[in-house]
């Protein structure tokens, strides 16, 4: 109820100490189609659900190569995502030009986060409505980061964002402990399984998803459709079995029912989503 009084612009605090515009921006991320990332010691895999609006149109690009050693998957306002990808590419190129060395991922992520923070503290701006899963390799190994519209960033072993990402997160939570030592192919397989979880029983084919890999000795690259389909067939991940359908259906009901109470609950409690 009080939410509407303090949510007009991003520079207004609510009495509970929240910035509602920033939280609304994070909602936009949740509305976007799913994107997941997972990493081992040597590789990082990004995958996303790519649904076209209609049969007549092509689907939106959600995975971008930023440099040979960095790639990003987005969820939310794709236009904002594109702009931030361009910024990231620019930073990488400038660093490479000056130092003839790849920009450490951790530094790019901090720069991105600081850029997002600016939009939470200017009355004439709005927060970026996109969440970014940044996958990269540097001297200290393979990294996966999540950048939030709030300006926060976190490092993850595996993560999922966007709609129905909870299903993927549940799958990843079960499996993540073995990811560190996983081989490249096992990682890709787990990524495809996680994506299937978000499809709720719908058939997983290479036309609804995109997969990208980066690893030691392997520059960031988006796998082509045939390769992905072959992997789906090989691992038999298309997802026609009953158990998956059931749990997926439960998940959908749970998600829809859970969403409203979640929001209400969050408003009543002290913790704002961006603080977690």
């Amino acid at each position: 109820m009080f939410r509407n009084q303090y949510d007009t612009d991003v520079t207004t605090w609510s009495p509970q100490g929240r910035l509602f515009q920033v939280e609304y921006a994070m909602e936009a991320v949740k509305q976007g189609s799913a994107a997941i990332g997972l990493r081992s010691n040597t590789h990082v895999v990004l995958a996303c659900v790519n649904k076209a609006n209609s049969e007549l149109s092509s689907h939106q690009r959600k995975i971008f190569k930023v440099d040979d050693h960095i790639g990003v998957a987005i969820a939310g306002l794709t236009a904002d995502g594109r702009v931030l990808s361009r910024y990231m590419r620019s930073e990488c190129i400038n660093y490479g030009y000056t130092y003839e060395a790849p920009l450490p991922v951790g530094r790019l992520v901090v720069q991105l986060a600081d850029k997002a923070q600016v939009c939470t503290q200017r009355s004439w701006k709005r927060p970026y409505g996109v969440g970014l899963l940044v996958a990269g390799l540097d001297e200290s190994g393979a990294h996966l980061y999540y950048n939030c519209p709030s300006g926060n960033y976190f490092e993850y072993q595996a993560f999922a964002i966007g709609s129905r990402s909870q299903a993927a997160k549940t799958y990843l939570e079960r499996k993540f402990e073995k990811f560190t030592e996983s081989s490249r192919d096992e990682l890709v397989k787990d990524a495809l399984f996680a994506i299937r979880e978000t499809l709720q029983g719908e058939k997983l084919t290479s036309s609804v998803c995109t997969v990208a890999v980066i690893g030691v000795g392997e520059a960031f690259d988006i796998l082509d459709q045939e390769t992905v389909q072959a992997l789906i067939n090989e691992f038999e991940i298309s997802g026609e079995d009953a158990t998956v359908n059931e749990s997926a259906a439960e998940q959908a009901g749970g998600d829809a029912g859970g969403a409203a109470p979640d929001q209400g609950g969050a408003a009543a409690e002290a913790a704002a989503p961006m603080d977690i």
Binding site: T98, E100, A101, G106, R107, V110, D138, E139
Partner: protein, 236 residues
């Protein structure tokens, strides 16, 4: 309006150097990089300053040696100080290595050259990072390259030939110092701006050490010097 050829900026441009350092020599050896430079600062033909440190540490992994205008070297050290400071402020476990420092300086030198206001130096950057040895050179016009042994100024003419004959990748520290001293002695005999007070620096994965200043023994008992005027009619 002659603004194209002679703008107000002209009085700021470097036309010639004032206080200069002479050669620096550097080469890779078994454990890292060895570099040597004397401690002279010449004011034209006067050897004005005799305790100028021309070898300096840069961050955790690099060593820089400079010849040319000393005040420009001091300016470069300030730039590098700021660079390393910002690198450290990230506080994230990443650090700039000798390759990055070399390339950064190349950009600085080349950009100044394009403004017709060069930093009048020839620089040698060496270092070890993650087991990888790096040695590079960059000059006042932005020419830059990497090699196993490099030198500036007269060192290119007097020291490099010795190094081409006698340098090996697996030189021990003692062998490397002897080789450096051989080159520096040659420079001392033949370069009029050289002074007999030098420092040797070594940088390895473990870190950097710059020696205390010391002098080389020289030998002047050559027959031609004993009785210089004998056969004076065109004895050269």
């Amino acid at each position: 309006m002659d603004t194209l050829l002679s703008s107000e900026g002209d009085s700021q441009r470097t036309q010639y150097p004032y206080v200069t350092g002479t050669s620096v020599i550097g080469f890779k050896y078994k454990d890292g990089i060895l570099m040597a430079a004397d401690m002279g600062g010449s004011y034209g033909s006067t050897i004005r300053y005799k305790s100028v440190e021309r070898l300096k540490q840069v961050g955790k992994h690099s060593l820089i040696g400079a010849s040319g205008e000393i005040s420009d070297f001091q300016e470069i050290l300030k730039y590098l100080d700021e660079l390393i400071l910002h690198d450290n402020m990230w506080d994230d476990g990443n650090s700039l290595g000798p390759k990055e420092v070399h390339n950064y300086l190349t950009r600085v030198m080349y950009n100044r050259r394009n403004k017709f206001d060069p930093l009048w130096n020839s620089l040698i950057i060496g270092g070890v990072k993650n087991g990888h040895k790096y040695l590079g050179s960059v000059g006042m016009i932005g020419v830059h390259f990497e090699d196993d042994h490099v030198a500036t100024g007269f060192g290119n003419h007097l020291a490099r030939p010795i190094l081409r004959e006698e340098w090996r990748a697996d030189l021990t520290f003692e062998e490397g110092v002897k080789l450096l001293e051989k080159c520096m002695r040659n420079l001392l005999y033949r370069d009029r701006s050289a002074v007999n007070k030098l420092q040797i620096a070594k940088i390895t994965e473990e870190g950097l050490t710059v020696s205390q200043p010391y002098s080389l023994k020289t030998f002047w008992n050559f027959a031609a010097f004993e009785n210089p005027t004998v056969g004076a009619t065109g004895s050269w």
